[in-house]
């Protein structure tokens, strides 16, 4: 695409530069701790999941993770499942074959009619019960398109709070490596009609985290 002429750029920048020669007034006030530190991260994560309507299933090993995923899939209507193409998920999903068609992210983005998507994540946040995903987790649509989104995570991915998750994004170059990063907290919702909370607006109605401790 040809670069667009943009003479306004210099004019706008010129005005900004002239203006910020003088610094504006600053409000001086409380500088205390904003959030209480998160101590018991697993406990807090589970509590926050209950509050924000995420289903969190804590599993001990890969066998019980596979069993958990199988149990979740059994609750879903028939239809295709989309899975992030990652060795961990190849191993897990091979154990839960229930006759459904499977589509892997290496085959392209999910079909709109997928019943569920299964992905890994970049991190979990205890403070808010959130899941951090990126384009690397099966793409952009993988984590928003289906009625159910199942996330497989391990305990070492759980960080205490939002400060820690932003630090992790920086340390691990997550934002640098991906064109897309999303912090997901609970399933899609709206309160645009009479402030009544309704789940499953445009994104998943169910967000399920399978959190493996070993």
């Amino acid at each position: 695409m040809a670069p667009t002429e943009n003479p306004s750029r210099e004019r706008i920048l010129g005005r900004i530069r002239a203006a910020v020669q003088t610094t504006g007034p600053h409000h001086e006030g409380a500088a205390g701790q904003i959030f209480a530190p998160v101590t018991n991260t697993l406990d807090r994560f589970q509590k926050e999941c209950v509050a924000n309507i995420t289903e969190c299933m804590v599993t001990a090993d890969s066998a019980s993770s596979a069993a958990a995923i199988k149990a979740i899939l059994a609750t879903l209507p028939p239809g295709e499942i989309f899975v992030q193409d990652a060795p961990e998920l190849r191993a897990l999903v091979s154990g839960v074959k229930d006759g459904r068609p499977l589509r892997w992210s290496s085959e392209g983005p999910p079909n709109e009619a997928s019943q569920a998507t299964i992905t890994l994540c970049e991190a979990l946040v205890a403070q808010t019960g959130s899941v951090l995903v990126s384009a690397a987790n099966g793409g952009r649509q993988a984590t928003v398109i289906a009625p159910a989104h199942i996330v497989f995570a391990t305990l070492d991915q759980l960080v205490p709070d939002l400060e820690a998750v932003m630090a992790r994004i920086n340390e691990r170059g997550i934002a640098g490596r991906n064109s897309y990063v999303c912090l997901i907290t609970g399933s899609s919702r709206t309160a645009d009609i009479e402030k009544i909370l309704i789940m499953g607006a445009h994104g998943p109605r169910r967000l399920i985290v399978v959190l493996q401790t070993a």
Binding site: M1, T4, N6, S8, R9, I12, L13, R15, I16, A18, V20, G24, P25, H27, A30, A31, G32, Q33, I34, F35, E48, S105, G108, P109, S130, A135, G138, G139, R140, Q141, A142, V144, I145, L162, M166, A167, I169, N170, A175, N178, S179, Y180, V181, C182, L183, T185, G186, S187, S188, R189, T190, D192, I193, E194, K195, I196, I198, G200, A201, H202
Partner: protein
């Protein structure tokens, strides 16, 4: 009096006397207040959060050139395009050009107040492009051909019956009083749009300098679909939305959510830094950021009101405002309602036509108290009033009236005389049975209020009678 001002007075009078409208707004604001009250308890120190947010935005706004350039460079490194628009016209033109080049027939939009500010949808529609709003509230007001009622809750003024009727008439859906079914109708309808649109337009809650990413905050997921499925993504934003660092979001995201809806954090906080990269499964082929000035750099040059650029558009001041609670969002007749709009709009649209908004406030300061970034909103309303007076654009009758008032108030005998005259006149009106008629000088006041009994003597006279002294 300007036409905008007359229209404002007419709509404000109509809306504040409409009991159904009052009921809906009261219900919504009550829900909001409860939720925010609860939300704030999740902070160890809400005041510290406000201070941090103020510090972040202060740092960004006072070094705006530095952070915008850093952002621009990062986006370009990642193959994205950044366009700087002096005004709405330039921004519209750029986006229409991108649409034309890309052969765009349909656009899906996630919520962007800047797009309302610059009337983007109308420009795209004029060139034959279909524009679909995808935020549920925005979708509803778009079907009604209305602007958003509120910057966070665009369809706050409607109840489920009205939405049901609308969906029945415009989408052919069966009538239902069940809110989940209403949401499902919109979901099904909009899904088709996400997959047939060639372009997605989003706003930006923040643009992050060190990461070169824009971030949007939505609960529904429409912002995610709008920026994931279509071939082109355009992020449209004001230049003041830049923040220095990704790390700043650790405070800004939860504070914005709590001030906006009372949630601990919004459902989806998405960061986007470009088109689909090599190796990624999906995503747009083109990524454009349009940085809109449209009067913002002039505000930056005004040290007194520079901090208005700190605004993160949470809507807290709107919900807190007793004027908004009475007249609602549409009466303002501008893009941004409530206190922030009454500060901003006269600056962006001209004091001459829009100064009335800065006068339509009791200066109670509720807006300033709730602002999560410490904008002294009621002081800025007062400054706009002063500037309007100095610019000589307020009505001559008012200037004359204030001159007379000053003359009367600056002498005790004159004050006593006019007080006596006023009491006599009011009693005469009552005695002659003129009360409430067109000849009653108090009618503008008494038509909505009960007139108290008129005393025979002034306070001074009563004092003298009881105490025998001055």
């Amino acid at each position: 009096m300007s036409t905008a001002s007359q229209e404002f007075l007419r709509k404000a009078a109509e809306k504040s006397a409409d009991p159904v409208h009052r009921g809906i707004v009261r219900w919504n604001i009550d829900q909001y207040d409860t939720s925010v009250g609860k939300g704030k308890t999740r902070f160890a120190d809400w005041e510290a959060a406000r201070q941090r947010c103020h510090d972040i935005k202060w740092e960004a706004v006072n070094h705006l050139d530095k952070y915008l350039l850093q952002f621009e460079q990062k986006v370009k490194e990642n193959g994205g395009h950044v366009f700087w628009a002096e005004n709405g016209e330039e921004a519209r033109q750029y986006i229409c050009d991108v649409a034309k080049r890309g052969g765009v027939k349909k656009v899906v939009k996630s919520k962007s107040m800047v797009s309302e500010e610059i009337h983007l949808a109308a420009a795209l529609e004029k060139m034959g492009v279909e524009v679909v709003e995808t935020d549920l509230g925005e979708f509803i007001v778009q079907l009604r051909n209305e602007p958003p009622y509120h910057i966070v809750t665009p369809a706050m003024h409607l109840n489920r019956q009205q939405v049901s009727k609308l969906f029945h008439e415009k989408l052919g859906a069966a009538e239902t009083q069940d809110p989940p079914e209403l949401v499902a109708i919109a979901r099904r309808w909009l899904r088709k749009s996400f997959f047939s649109a060639e372009m997605g337009i989003s706003g930006a809650n923040f643009i992050v300098a060190d990461a070169g990413m824009v971030t949007i905050t939505t609960n529904e997921g429409n912002g995610r679909l709008s920026t994931s499925v279509p071939r082109i993504h355009v992020a449209l934003t004001g230049i003041e939305k830049v923040i220095p660092r990704l790390q700043d979001l650790a405070t800004l995201w939860p504070t914005l959510a709590t001030a906006g809806t009372g949630q601990p954090i919004t459902c989806y906080n998405t960061l986007m830094g470009g088109a689909r990269r090599a190796g990624e499964v999906d995503g747009p082929e083109e990524f454009h950021v349009v940085l809109v000035d449209n009067g913002r750099s002039e505000l930056l040059a005004d040290l007194e009101q520079r901090e208005v650029l700190h605004c993160i558009r949470c809507g807290a001041c709107i919900n807190a405002c007793p004027v908004f609670r009475n007249i609602g969002g549409h009466a303002y007749g501008v893009t941004y309602p409530g206190p922030i709009g009454s500060v901003l709009e006269p600056r962006l649209l001209g004091l001459k036509e829009y100064q009335h908004l800065s006068f339509a406030s009791s200066l109670c300061g509720a807006c300033t108290d709730v602002c999560p970034v410490h904008i002294e909103l009621h002081h800025h309303l007062l400054q706009n009033r002063r500037n309007a007076i100095h610019s000589g654009t307020h009505p001559a009758s008012e200037r004359l009236g204030m001159k007379f008032f000053r003359w009367m108030m600056s002498s005790a005998p004159r004050f006593r005389f006019f007080g006596w005259l006023g009491r006599m006149a009011l009693r005469a009106v009552r005695a002659l049975g003129l009360e409430g008629t067109a000849l009653d000088p108090m009618r503008p006041w008494t038509k909505d209020r009960a007139m108290p009994p008129i005393p025979r003597e002034s306070f001074r006279e009563m004092w003298r009678q009881q105490n025998g002294t001055h």
